[in-house]
């Protein structure tokens, strides 16, 4: 497969997009068209079971029209030329253009003065800014391009990993190896832009199930990236580590609930950044008056050691892309710099309504869903403290490893992150005593202000992120190790 071209399923229909946009703009002040296709390959190997199968493609066309007050959309999986133009005709027959600004949500006084000025406002009162003219194709760079390997070679890779892991410990009852290769292809057109991209996402994971005859436990290890196979290869050390960790889970205890000094591994740090100050600064929730962070714009909110960024252009990140679903080119956004809340993340509608500069965070789960403001790669900025020094500084605490889930609370500013396990720290040393699972909860400003040290390391981990309980998109989160105080339970 040539990543320098969008797939044939989209390249044919994409020639119709400029004409569709032009037709729609006869009736509405701004229109755009997006073709998207997500699909790929999944290989899975367990004891006595193997599968190689397609990741079900989701492919369709989205027509978006600004009616003067809000966006209306019509979308379809049928990409035949006749259907695409028929869809546009039906759509334009249904759209009701509105008087400018007729029902725009009110501007929040706290937002407007701070965010304007730094960058040119996105739009005039009456219209949507289509951006600067551009016509470019983008593609993920790979060293070991997986699309040049056969499905058989990928199955063999998984079979080999499964066989090697399976014999590492007699308490292992099953090992699951999963390889996922997803190609996300998009073509975006508005009156001045014609952009396309192929984003190749890989994930290779090993899940080890162990039993002592009384109970079953497990642990997993995964690597993920936008890029080639070189970014996700697992070695013998990785396999040994995940097997030993799964076995150690058999003797894990519940953590005594209470406040602790904790050291968060990059994985847990990242989920804290994502849940505490990622979702809470998505500007669509500012429009809904759901964001407590609005009161802190331009003010200190975290320890001065803390930087938090969202960067869809981060090379190799699982959440990386070249432009968002509304044609905005990716670039990093400093959300918190030196402890001060600088700006939030936006999509076209929230940026237009709040008169703030756009960031490339307008994303949709698929053509079937609306664009929302979504994170990409969200992380704490790197610090200066060696990790060993951080651990040595803890008299009694817990080293938190391996986040498994999190949940935002943008209005109440509570935060929940679940860590698969933690290891006791006593007098500056890891004792090996394991607690599992661990819930980390607290009030967001308290947690961010309690950061006492930021590690000199850095790592991103990939996953998927929902908005509330739906709208799943690929992201990553991470950063360095952090030392902070948190309530564990």
């Amino acid at each position: 497969m040539d990543l320098q071209e969008i797939p044939p399923e989209l390249s044919g229909p994409s020639v119709n997009l400029p004409a569709l946009v032009s037709d729609m703009e006869r009736r509405v002040p701004y229109a755009a068209a997006l073709l998207c296709r997500n699909g790929g390959l999944q290989v899975q190997v367990r004891d006595r079971e193997q599968s190689v199968t397609e990741i079900a493609p989701r492919q369709g066309l989205v027509l978006s029209a600004w009616n003067g007050a809000y966006f209306e959309e019509m979308a379809s999986s049928d990409l035949s030329r006749e259907h695409m133009f028929g869809l546009a005709r039906r759509f334009m027959g249904a759209v009701q253009p509105r008087l400018r600004g007729a029902v725009r949500p009110r501007l929040r006084g706290a937002v407007r003065p701070r965010l304007c000025g730094a960058v040119r406002p996105v739009a005039s009162d009456g219209g949507i800014d289509p951006g600067q003219a551009q016509r470019t194709h983008y593609a993920t760079a790979c060293v070991e391009d997986p699309t040049t390997l056969s499905a058989k070679e990928k199955l063999d890779l998984c079979l080999d990993l499964q066989a090697r892991a399976r014999k590492l410990n007699p308490r292992i009852v099953n090992v699951q190896v999963r390889y996922m290769e997803t190609l996300e292809s998009k073509a975006f057109v508005n009156r001045v832009r014609q952009l396309s991209q192929n984003v190749l996402r890989l994930r290779l994971s090993v899940m080890v199930f162990v039993s002592d005859g009384q109970q079953l436990q497990y642990d997993w290890l995964g690597k993920d990236a936008t890029g080639g196979l070189e970014a996700v290869r697992l070695n013998d050390d990785d396999l040994r580590r995940v097997c030993e960790s799964a076995v150690a889970m058999l003797s894990a205890k519940k953590v005594p609930p209470g406040m602790y000094d904790v050291i968060c591994c990059p994985d847990v740090s990242g989920v804290i950044a994502h849940e505490a100050f990622g979702h809470g600064v998505e500007l669509d929730i500012f429009l809904k008056d759901r964001a407590r962070s609005e009161q802190y714009l331009g003010k200190p909110i975290a320890s001065p050691l803390v930087d938090i960024l969202d960067d869809p252009s981060y090379p190799g990140g699982h959440g990386t892309y070249f432009f968002d679903d509304e044609g905005q080119l990716s670039s990093p956004t400093y959300i918190i710099r030196h402890g001060v809340f600088e700006r939030g993340l936006s999509d076209l509608y929230s940026a237009h309504s709040l008169r703030v500069p756009r960031s490339a965070n307008g994303r949709r789960e698929s053509f079937e869903r609306k664009v929302y403001v979504r994170m990409s790669n969200t992380f704490f900025g790197r610090g200066k403290t060696p990790v060993s020094e951080m651990i040595e500084s803890v008299e009694r605490g817990v080293y938190l490893e391996h986040s498994s889930s999190g949940m935002e609370d943008p209005k109440g500013w509570g935060m929940q992150v679940t860590s698969q396990y933690g290891v006791e720290i006593l007098n500056g040393k890891l004792t090996g005593r394991r607690f599992a699972p661990i819930g980390i909860t607290g009030y967001v400003p308290d947690i961010l202000q309690s950061v006492l040290a930021v590690g000199d390391d850095f790592k991103l981990s990939g996953g998927t992120c929902g908005k509330g309980h739906k709208e799943w998109v690929p992201v990553s989160s991470g950063g360095p190790h952090l030392k902070l105080k948190a309530r564990l339970g």
């Binding site: 599968s51 809000y70 309530r487």
Partner: protein, 442 residues
């Protein structure tokens, strides 16, 4: 489109068995911020999901044939290269070596109510009416307003056929109603956020739900932190659904699946207690119910063509059967049951009010930030989004902190309410009381 795919499957070399599922869907979506529309969308999609089975000699050698299967999705634009898609599926299926298994044959399918005719005929009207009901209900709520709402009204037509004679068609509707309410205090605002999924609009009593969630938003303004310790905990309504159903990933569902038993991951055995401790609460009985009228996981037939059923899975704490798709039923030598469906628990014997009795402190949790017990071990930790501390006749709202434990360890001692609720994918007691749960608070 389905017939074109099936004709191609019948002729294609290397296709030894197949299942094809045509899914045609229309979704009408309405988004509101405050009193104003944020967006309107209409989405149509059509696809055929094809599963191809291929029998071949194993790569490791041997004379006994093995089976591989692979899925491909055929979109309207794929019809011109259908043969290539099927060749791709056969190629993938040939790569994998699994013990052979079959497919379900033709059955009589039960009639299950799955569609709301008004949602089918007037989806946009239903969406706007629901938002109107919510707005109207909130007008009577002091200091509470609507932040935002999303309504998805969907209709799907699914036609399933396979190489062994299955031919089943079902039409269903789905409704998602997601809303956020804001309550204003003297100097602060708090929210309550909830999402309901149903098949029928009439299954949402919007005025009653708006009243309940408006109260939640107001109570959140005054909520404090719970204590730390071990306390009786009552969980009710949507919070209970999250704890026991977990969007289909409940350890109750997974541990009772033949697939996990075959994979040696489920420790459960038919005829044995699902608990490691001696039961001290109400007898625990669980049904997998795909026939629940308007259940969001109901169906006349499942994805591979097995008829929907209502099955006792656990009776008085003892596992009575594994639920099984055709493949894993054959592997374990048990009857195929089809997919799990909705989770049903029989009504308890205690009044909801009596579950809240006692000197206290007792915690009644009505909303978690997120609660999904580990699907394999049952371990759980969940932040309390809103609850109430009941102590010596006093009621105090609480939020923050968490509860933690193991689902099986708490179910073994649970007492269930006699009042019941239908929550889309759950039918059963409205509330449960656990005598001892760890609370991490102040």
């Amino acid at each position: 489109m389905l017939q074109q795919v099936i004709e191609a499957l019948r002729k294609h070399e290397g296709v030894h068995d197949w299942c094809a599922r045509h899914v045609d869907k229309r979704s009408t979506q309405y988004y509101v911020i405050g009193k104003h529309p944020e967006s309107r969308r209409v989405v149509t999609s059509e696809r055929v999901v094809v599963t191809v089975m291929n029998d071949h000699a194993p790569a490791a050698g041997g004379s006994e044939l093995v089976r591989g299967e692979a899925d491909v999705t055929v979109l309207p634009s794929d019809l011109l290269r259908l043969a290539d898609k099927l060749s791709q599926a056969v190629f993938m299926a040939r790569l994998t070596d699994n013990p052979r298994y079959g497919l379900p044959g033709l059955s009589r399918y039960p009639v299950v109510e799955l569609a709301d005719s008004e949602m089918q005929k007037r989806p946009q009207d239903v969406a706007e009416r629901l938002v109107g009901q919510l707005t109207q209900s909130l007008a009577a709520e002091k200091n509470v307003r609507l932040s935002s709402a999303e309504v998805f009204v969907e209709e799907s037509h699914v036609h399933t056929q396979n190489s062994r004679g299955v031919d089943g068609h079902q039409v269903g509707t789905n409704l998602l109603f997601d809303w956020v309410l804001l309550a204003a205090g003297d100097a602060d605002e708090m929210e309550s956020h909830v999402a309901f999924e149903r098949r029928r609009a009439a299954d949402l009593d919007v005025p009653a739900l708006a009243q309940r969630y408006a109260a939640h938003a107001r109570d959140a303004l005054a909520a404090g932190t719970p204590r730390t310790g071990t306390f009786p905990v009552v969980v009710s309504d949507e919070a209970l659904d999250e704890l026991v159903v977990s969007e289909g990933n409940s350890p109750l569902t997974l541990r009772s699946s033949a697939q996990l038993k075959y994979q040696q991951i489920s420790p459960w055995e038919v005829g044995q207690s699902i608990f490691t401790q001696t039961p001290s609460g109400d007898a625990f009985t669980l049904y997998a119910n795909a026939l629940l009228p308007f259940g969001t996981r109901s169906g006349s037939l499942d994805g591979e063509g097995l008829p929907g059923q209502r099955l006792p899975i656990v009776e008085n704490g003892v596992l009575t059967r594994f639920w099984a798709t055709q493949r894993y039923a054959e592997y374990l030598g048990v009857p195929p049951t089809g997919e799990f469906g909705n989770l049903e628990l029989p009504a308890g014997t205690h009044s909801f009010a009596s579950l809240l009795e006692g000197q206290g402190p007792l915690y009644h949790i009505v909303a978690f930030s997120a609660m999904s017990p580990d699907p394999l071990t049952g371990d759980f930790v969940g932040e309390i989004r809103l609850g109430y501390e009941l102590n010596k006749g006093q009621v105090r709202p609480i939020r923050g902190g968490s509860i933690g434990g193991n689902l099986f360890d708490v179910l073994v001692a649970a007492r269930w309410s006699r009042e019941t609720a239908f929550l889309g994918d759950y039918a059963g007691p409205r509330a449960v009381r656990f005598p001892q749960v760890t609370v991490a608070g102040a």
